[in-house]
């Protein structure tokens, strides 16, 4: 069997530090767990830089490092922390090339997670970056996808926001689209929802529905093949976008674009419009397979 996603990330980072003499910045990197097992056990002398707990300043320090052609990796352990970590990344690093013709490429690892961790640490927050110009947003969930994204970043001179999810770290398999043949309904899945999408497809197909699946790796710019667009256009009922963020962000924006491209109804399903509490009863989780199935069945009946 191949490597898990977390082993793949760890190997990429080891090479980034050892072979490319790059730097990795973040808070509490060298703590127990090494960020979900995604970091090699290296220290400041190797380029693994512990920032202070000053979140906003930390993003600025990484931006400054990127100005010196260093191509730093910036680890944000929970995506919600971006509210304080992102300001100088989006306002300076992302604009530097356009305003001063000085590229400032940062590889931002924003790590999503949820389930009993409350309103700040929980879920993905990639929509935070979405409205700002000058950066790219990706959400790799497989080893091959991650390698592809890192290699693309190293050849590029832009800021990358890499929306990761701890739920995918043990994944070894590559997730494929299913767009062949005529479909009743198409699921377009982002981040961790890609795994639940597969389960939902299996349940729905047992019920006699033909379900397509489109995996979104490149969120901004949105990369979706012509064949995928054809699959949505030719579908009977349209498509639904699944996200691990609130729908009033990336998913509704993509839905709007795809509606224009396909003339089909594109629905969205993501986090509920509420804060996540710590207890199971009041948490706010991404859609699971049962919720996806229920939603799609209701949409195909109307």
């Amino acid at each position: 069997m191949g490597k898990t996603l977390k082993e793949t990330i760890k190997e990429i980072i080891r090479k980034h530090l050892k072979n490319k003499k790059g730097k990795v910045f973040g808070q509490c990197l060298t703590a127990v767990g090494w960020v979900g097992g995604t970091l090699p056990e290296l220290y400041e002398k190797d380029g693994m830089i512990e920032l202070s707990m000053a979140d906003v300043a930390g993003g600025g320090i990484v931006t400054g490092s990127a100005l010196m052609n260093e191509k730093p990796i910036y680890v944000i352990r929970y995506q919600g922390f971006n509210w304080y970590n992102a300001p100088m990344i989006v306002n300076y690093a992302a604009k530097s090339k356009e305003i001063w013709n000085t590229p400032c490429p940062v590889f931002v690892r924003g790590i999503g997670m949820e389930g009993g961790i409350g309103p700040v640490a929980g879920s993905s927050h990639h929509s935070l970056y979405y409205r700002m110009p000058g950066l790219k947003i990706v959400s790799p969930m497989t080893p091959k996808e991650y390698k592809k994204i890192y290699n693309s970043f190293m050849k590029d001179d832009e800021v990358y926001y890499v929306s990761e999810h701890r739920g995918s770290f043990n994944n070894k398999i590559e997730l494929k689209d299913d767009i062949k043949g005529k479909k009743d309904f198409v699921i377009i899945a982002i981040s961790i929802t890609r795994f639940e999408a597969i389960k939902a497809k299996e349940i729905l197909e047992k019920k006699g529905l033909r379900i397509g699946i489109i995996n979104i790796l490149w969120i901004k710019p949105l990369k979706i093949s012509k064949a995928s667009i054809r699959c949505i256009t030719n579908s009977k009922f349209g498509a639904i976008i699944l996200d691990d963020d609130y729908v009033d962000g990336i998913s509704n924006s993509i839905a709007n674009k795809l509606t224009h491209m396909t003339n089909k109804k594109i629905f969205t399903l993501g986090l509920s419009d509420k804060s996540a509490g710590f207890h199971k009863k009041v948490d706010n989780l991404p859609p699971n397979s049962d919720q996806i199935v229920k939603k799609i069945i209701s949409l195909t009946k109307n």
């Binding site: 930390g58 100088m88 300076y92 356009e98 305003i99």
Partner: protein, 280 residues
């Protein structure tokens, strides 16, 4: 201070003063159509530092500043033509294609990095650049920018890492029009010391600034330099006609030689602006 050095500093200050006086004039006449932030009154800080760093330290530092930085740019050797072009909207000659405006001066030639418009972000960004490059770095901020939480957090990290950075607080006592005493009960040189870096509070006199040159870029150091802005926070206007003017004092002390320099720059810079305006 040696007279020769003092004259050299006065030359830079004169260049900055006449540049800003013209910018004021053309902003008032609406020939400059973007918001401008003038550094007149504060020019002895950058003029002194640029001269001392060039002559004594013999290094070309990375420069990070924010708005009110025309004098920083000019003192450290930025091309005046490019700055005039920036202010007049001549995008072909401007260093940033007119994207930067007055508040975000950039120059690859002098290692001056642009600013994003959020006060004080140049502090953590400059610290990150210094940490990675290990190059001597000078970071300018105002007394208001110094209050930003991320400035304080970043200063602590720079002190911990013992980076070769000279932090300059251009303290004109005002945030738009709100005085420092209304905003806080602490001083930046004390903050620097609490972070275990050298921190001093001084006037913008070249004599005083020169006293600290032996510490430049050896380790992190913060100089809180008290100064006065001649003009409004933004645009062409004056807070008061009774502002203390270091330029007039230095001109008086240095006598005829300074008067000659003043006249020379007055005429030269006026011509430069007129030449650009003719092309408009």
């Amino acid at each position: 201070m040696h007279r020769k050095l003092r004259i050299k500093i006065f030359e830079k200050a004169s260049l900055c003063r006449h540049f800003e006086t013209n910018a004021y004039k053309f902003s008032e006449k609406k020939l400059i159509k973007i918001p401008i932030y003038l550094s007149a009154g504060q020019e002895f800080i950058s003029a002194s530092l640029a001269t001392i760093i060039n002559d004594f330290c013999k290094v070309k530092p990375l420069i990070f500043a924010q708005h009110r930085c025309h004098s920083t740019y000019l003192s450290f050797g930025g091309e005046m033509d490019n700055l005039i072009a920036e202010l007049l909207g001549n995008y072909k000659l401007s260093n940033t294609g007119c994207m930067g405006g007055s508040a975000s001066i950039y120059s690859k030639k002098i290692n001056m990095f642009g600013h994003d418009g959020h006060m004080g972000t140049q502090v953590p960004i400059g610290i990150g650049a210094c940490f990675t490059s290990k190059k001597p770095t000078i970071i300018f901020m105002g007394d208001a920018a110094a209050e930003e939480d991320y400035v304080l957090g970043a200063l602590g990290w720079a002190a911990t890492k013992k980076l070769p950075i000279l932090f300059i607080v251009e303290d004109n006592n005002l945030s738009i029009l709100t005085e420092k005493k209304v905003r806080r009960n602490w001083d930046m040189h004390d903050v620097a010391r609490s972070f275990k870096m050298k921190g001093y509070n001084l006037k913008d006199s070249p004599n005083e600034i020169e006293k600290y040159k032996k510490f430049f870029f050896k380790e992190p150091m913060l100089l809180n330099i008290n100064t006065n802005r001649m003009f409004w926070h933004a645009g062409a206007g004056k807070d008061s006609d009774k502002i203390f003017d270091r330029y007039l004092i230095e001109k008086k002390i240095l006598g005829k030689e300074a008067e000659k320099i003043d006249k020379k720059f007055n005429s030269m810079i006026k011509k430069k602006w007129e030449k650009h305006l003719k092309k408009q």
